[in-house]
Amino acid sequence: MAHVNENIKTYKGFRTITLFCLVVLYAPLVIVTIYSFNASQSITNWEGLSLRWYADVFTGPESAKFKTAAFNSFTIAIMAATASTMIATLAATAMVRGGQFRLRTVSFGLISLPLMVPEIVTAVATLIFFNAIGFTRGYLTILVAHIAFCIPFAYLPISARMQGIEDSFEQAAMDLYATRRQAFTRILMPLMAPGIISGFLLAFIVSLDDFIITNFVKGAGVETLPTAIFGSVKQGIKPNIMAISTMLLSVSIVMVTISYFVSKSDSTK
């Protein structure tokens, strides 16, 4: 891409809005972090610094529950996001690179369907449906349900990105005797990366955060973080939930920091 004068690219005020956006997103989490160190039971009264809630998460009576819940949540979110991103990428290729066809509108409707039905309806309906076809509720039913409702969240950014890529790139490659598969994996996919990453991340957070559907299809004894946390929330939010949230945040922020330095060293090579 030709080098473009930075002045033309940047808009005054966009930086301010972005910073504002980050403040809005993170301000509540600052509260969460602060109160995770609260000595008191209460989440609204500050009674001094303490690490008791962190100790509680690891050694308290519910530590085993939280551990399996975290494990289930992350494995399900990673698998569901991976599967739905793959399915969505294939679907987007057909929809954006498949020319006009009669079922295009219907396919789009089907892909968006999980967005349109309120979660509680999907939850009850899926439970009845799983029972009707003889699925036993458990880890697998959660995974299947998550894959299904994550598809539109992955599909929309991916297809939006693909619409911005002219097919002349792949055509040129194929004119130079690349197979279509090669054109797909070596030309289209790298160009698609930001769309695929966006889709994957959206699917990931949707799966990680889902409570309503999970709670209906999960079956006895299988917990995810939201279902384990929700319990505590209903009886008043205990600071141990704040502690879990803070640890999740720290893990993710460490990951981002590492990826930042990795990418930085990449670019200096």
Binding site: S42, T44, N45, T75, Y139, A220, Q235
Partner: protein, 345 residues
């Protein structure tokens, strides 16, 4: 990524396998969130070798919905509230406990041994009971609070600072007490008046919220909150200057009960667990955790002494009667639903 996928697939296989291994000596409990201390379950497992799996719900109605959507046959025991016991019995979801099947049945406190919602305790045992009324922040209002008028015709200082529970049953029962009409009234004039009264009262309410009923009181966002007695006590312990009211018109009483579900896959173990919960020492551990009241005789000596002294547990002399939420018939319930929709439209 590939490795991650592989390891999670392995973990998945592992968790499936471990589920199958524990098929013997199991008990599956369907229970409220945060209402059963893990220690009590551990004690039970240590005593009997039976492994307890617990699944949780957040309201009586969502438990009923799950069971009706196909959850029957998975669970052995559930813990519905008073009115929900009669609904579930009416739906044919409960199994009958024959005479002599529960060794500790005699431990049930006499006043709870033949409740209206489950005559003769045919399918249930008491779990915990308490009351639902409201708490008032004494910094915001110093007048008389022992009247339901605080919720429905509040003094000017409290108007716009009231949080109601987002639950039809509790709001309607309290409103009926306020108007002095029977619950599930079929009298048209009474129902019209109830509808009109609620419309009027809504002007004074700030919010409907059950999830953070305690937090809004502690933070001072609400000066009055409809709330359970145990929750009010916790709000007070967390530093809110709140007083729990026992209105002269009466208040809502509730009792959660452990019921034996039809088609329970581990019926014998379920009965063992019920017997276990009827032993004063065990149910006292639940009470100390949940801060409500047990319905078992001989429990007093195991209770945390501070619990009995709580003002929330001791109605004053002029308090009205505690009433259970009534189960309306289909036709009346339709009117109640309509009134509730009108209130929140």
């Amino acid at each position: 990524m590939n490795n991650l996928l592989k390891s999670s697939a392995a973990a998945l296989a592992l968790s499936v396998a471990s589920n199958a291994a524990a098929a013997e000596g199991k008990l599956v409990l369907y229970h409220w969130f945060e209402y059963m201390p893990q220690e009590v379950l551990d004690t039970f497992t240590a005593e009997t070798g039976i492994e307890v799996t617990m699944d949780t719900y957040d309201s009586n109605e969502s438990m009923l919905a799950t069971l009706k959507a196909g959850g029957m046959g998975t669970y052995d025991l559930a813990v519905p509230g008073d009115y929900m016991v009669s609904i579930m019995a009416g739906e044919g979801l409960l199994d009958t406990i024959a005479d002599g099947e529960l060794a500790n049945k005699g431990n049930i406190a006499p006043e709870w041994s033949d409740p209206s919602f489950d005559p003769g305790r045919a399918s249930s045992i008491p779990y915990q009971w308490g009351s639902t009324s409201f708490a008032v922040n004494r910094d915001a209002y110093s007048g008389d609070i022992q009247t339901t008028g605080i919720l429905f015709e509040p003094p000017a200082e409290l108007s716009g600072k009231i949080n109601m529970l987002d639950s039809q049953g509790e709001v309607m029962a309290m409103a009926s007490l306020h108007m002095g009409i029977p619950q599930c009234s079929t009298d048209r004039e009474q129902l019209k008046a109830l509808n009109a009264m609620l419309q009027e009262a809504k002007q004074h309410w700030a919010s409907f919220n059950s999830d953070t009923a305690k937090e809004v009181l502690v933070s001072g966002d609400a000066a009055v909150g409809q709330i359970y007695d145990g929750f009010a006590a916790k709000a007070r312990e967390e530093g809110a200057n709140v007083e729990y009211a026992y209105p002269t018109q009466g208040y809502v009483a509730w009792m959660d009960n452990v019921v034996l579900l039809k088609d329970a896959p581990n019926r014998d173990n379920a009965l063992k667990f019920m017997d276990f919960l009827l032993e004063p020492e065990n149910i006292a551990a639940v009470t100390n955790y949940a801060q409500y009241n047990a319905g078992v005789t001989g429990v007093a000596e195991y209770l945390d002494p501070a619990l009995a002294a709580q003002p929330e547990k001791n109605p004053h002399a002029n308090a009205g009667d505690g009433v259970f939420i009534k189960v309306c018939d289909q036709e009346t319930q339709a009117v109640y639903d309509q009134i509730w929709t009108n209130l929140k439209k």
